[in-house]
């Protein structure tokens, strides 16, 4: 009986893998200067945006794809990607009721109702479908508090001054190959602005959905918390199951003023490919936050269970004195998934502090790499860092790798680094099974216990979600 259960569990598949039938407005395959101009024109962008894109595109042409990450994949043909795909009709929505019913149904099915009455009462959602934002909820409620939360496209039109000031200020288009590509072709994303002294009255979240075939998703998120402001933001992602790999190259920039705090949580569940490694999203993401003011704080929490390839290092630049950077991460690589993820903590201000807690889980033929950099600049008197990297292996065909880079330019700094690698114990499994738990439940319990420190950092509803997601993603990993 138990064996039968295991087989059924192992056969279960990615539950967000459905495809929606939505007519799309797409640009021709491939990337040229004309593609960039076309995207900008489609979005009626002001001149500064087009210039930003063109500079990025020209710079991208001079760059080569990075090869230092511990991931392997066939060469990506950047001329075979569709860089812009928007659901039709693209008329201006005056209320939620006008969202295309097919798209609305898609988000309902994903558990993200766009109807404000049905939503978690304290979370505002920006829903991004392929290349464009289709709806942002609770905009009015937020506006009363002075908070701007809208799609990037709307922000370009309504708040060009803020965008011109902050766009590319943390991740310049010259930063890396994927950031340059994103800057050239990004089509939408979310923009949040929390004015001075305002505590954002609700959780903000963006839900990204890739639907159309052969498209890449290149979104950009910019969050600015002025002095004394605070916000908690969450992003979620899913995609249909396809045999072809799809490209996702996003950029996220955070700016925190003095005494401001930004908490950014991610539950990344892009389609990981099937159990033989076919299909799945290539996820090449640049996320970085700048603690610009004194005593500011940026905290990244990520739960990475999806994607065929994950290449992602949410980082903090600690410029303000006494500013704080945090990185809490759970990364799972099951089947043939490859994850190369970690963080960079760049200490510049005095008495800056950073904490890194990374939990990597490898199962099946999965390869999980932690790559982290802690840099203490000469100016960072009294800086402190604590890093902890733990790896858990399920089975004997997977791998765990750790590449910590530490650079200290000031002798008054204090750094601690702890690392461990363990295999899920036969004795732990047997102990739990002897108490009546199935093997799958036992593995889920042990892994969730392993991730506890990170899950504890997530907003409550999402911690529950992360728990469930972890169990689903582990299905079929033992047997």
């Amino acid at each position: 009986m138990a064996n039968q259960d295991l087989k059924e569990l192992a056969a279960k598949e990615y539950k967000y893998g459905f495809e929606s039938d939505v007519e799309a407005d797409q640009v021709p395959r491939g990337l040229t200067e004309d593609t960039v101009r076309l995207i900008s024109a489609k979005k009626n962008e002001p001149k500064f945006m087009l210039e930003f894109r063109l500079k990025a595109y020209k710079h991208w042409l001079t760059m080569t794809e990075p090869t230092w990450a511990h991931v392997h994949y066939p060469k990506i043909d950047y001329q075979n990607v569709i860089y812009y795909s928007a659901p039709k009709p693209k008329k201006k929505l005056s209320s939620m009721d006008e969202v295309d019913p097919e798209i609305r149904a898609t988000f309902d099915k994903l558990g993200i109702p766009l109807d404000e009455q049905k939503m978690l009462s304290n979370v505002a959602v920006d829903a991004v479908f392929d290349s464009v934002s289709v709806a942002t909820t609770f905009r009015k409620t937020l506006a009363e508090a002075g908070v701007i939360f809208c799609s990037f496209s709307d922000a370009v039109k309504e708040h060009p001054d803020l965008l011109e000031k902050y766009l590319g200020s943390v991740v310049p288009y010259t930063d890396n190959f994927f950031a340059a590509l994103n800057a050239a072709v990004f089509s939408d994303g979310s923009f949040c602005y929390i004015p001075k002294g305002v505590k954002c009255p609700m959780e903000l979240s963006t839900y990204f959905r890739i639907n159309a075939k052969d498209t890449g998703q290149f979104e950009r998120t910019l969050i600015v918390a002025e002095d004394g402001a605070s916000v908690s933001y969450l992003e979620g992602c899913t995609a249909p199951m396809r045999d072809e790999n799809q490209l996702h190259a996003a950029v996220v920039e955070l700016v925190a003023g003095a005494d401001a705090s930004i908490k950014y949580s991610t539950i990344q569940n892009w389609y990981p490919g099937d159990k033989n490694g076919k299909g799945g999203i290539y996820n090449f993401v640049t996320k970085r936050g700048k603690c610009a003011g004194a005593r500011s704080k940026i905290s990244w929490t990520q739960v990475e269970t999806g994607s065929a390839i994950t290449w992602k290092y949410p980082s903090c630049i600690l410029v303000g004195d006494e500013s704080v950077g945090e990185f809490y991460s759970v990364a799972l690589a099951n089947h043939y998934q490859q994850a190369d993820t970690g963080t960079k903590m760049i200490h510049i201000g005095k008495n800056t502090k950073s904490t890194i807690i990374s939990k990597g889980i490898s199962a099946g033929h999965g390869q999980n790499t932690y790559r982290g950099q802690v840099k203490i600049a000469k100016s960072a008197v009294g800086a402190r860092n604590y890093s902890q990297c733990d790896s858990l292996l399920l089975g004997d065909k997977c791998g765990a790798h750790t590449f910590p880079y530490i650079e200290v330019g000031n002798t008054s700094a204090t750094l601690e680094h702890e690392a461990s690698t363990s295999k899920i114990g036969e004795d732990q499994l047997f102990y739990l099974r002897q108490r009546g738990l199935s093997t799958e439940d036992a593995v889920g319990m042990i892994v969730n216990g392993f991730c506890k420190q990170v899950f504890a950092e997530l907003p409550l509803e999402f911690a529950v979600e992360a728990h469930k997601l972890m169990n689903i993603s582990l299905e079929g990993s033992v047997g």
Binding site: A2, Q434, L437, S438, I446, N448
Partner: protein
Amino acid sequence: MLKITNLHAKVGDKAILKGLNLTVKPGEVHAIMGPNGSGKSTLSYVLAGRPGYTVTEGAAEYDGKDLLAMDPEIRAREGVFLAFQYPVEIPGVSNKYFLKAAYNSLRKHRGEPEMDAGAFLKFIKEKAKSVEMDPAFLNRSVNEGFSGGEKKRNEILQLATLEPKLAILDETDSGLDIDALKIVAEGVNKMRGPKRAFVVVTHYQRLLDYIVPDFVHVLSGGRIIKSGGKELALELEKKGYSWIEDSGSVPKAAA
């Protein structure tokens, strides 16, 4: 309840049990004694179904069913409990969460509704009190950072919570001081009843002063070489295991 016939088992390539026979009826407490390496722990693990312990010959019938054909979790749900000699730590998993999952898996198996978190908390606090355990241990990670005595007490808490039909205690006395031993024994004694059977595996007679067995068996070379009442344990204590092994009443285990 339990009928073991001509049981042979190996661990890896090494034959450990070599023709063991044992019958346990409901309400009985059987002590299995024997020198180190005689196969006591192997017997416990084989009965609980630990992977890596292979039965090569013989049978074990439990409640009229083929025990050896069941997966370990099915044995547990059918009422077989093993109190571990070395309870395992599960970091990050709270004791009460673990106990609830275990308890509900048994209920589900019996077709009963699962107990919700609130009701379970009340229930488990009572159970903790009954084995004199500080309720603070319910919030700590399973066995993590517990002392030897606390781990054993946690095993008894699980025993009291899961209320098995057949409880196997594997060297439950090892590493306990006399006070802890008394508490653990008291916990076990409270659980004794006409429908429940115990197999108490121990190296020393000391535990049997507190958990008084109905039968004592001496295991040597993978077989039971002598059985008797509780007085047999006292005699063993006085004369040592070599007394039986040298007595010639049974063939000596092959070296």
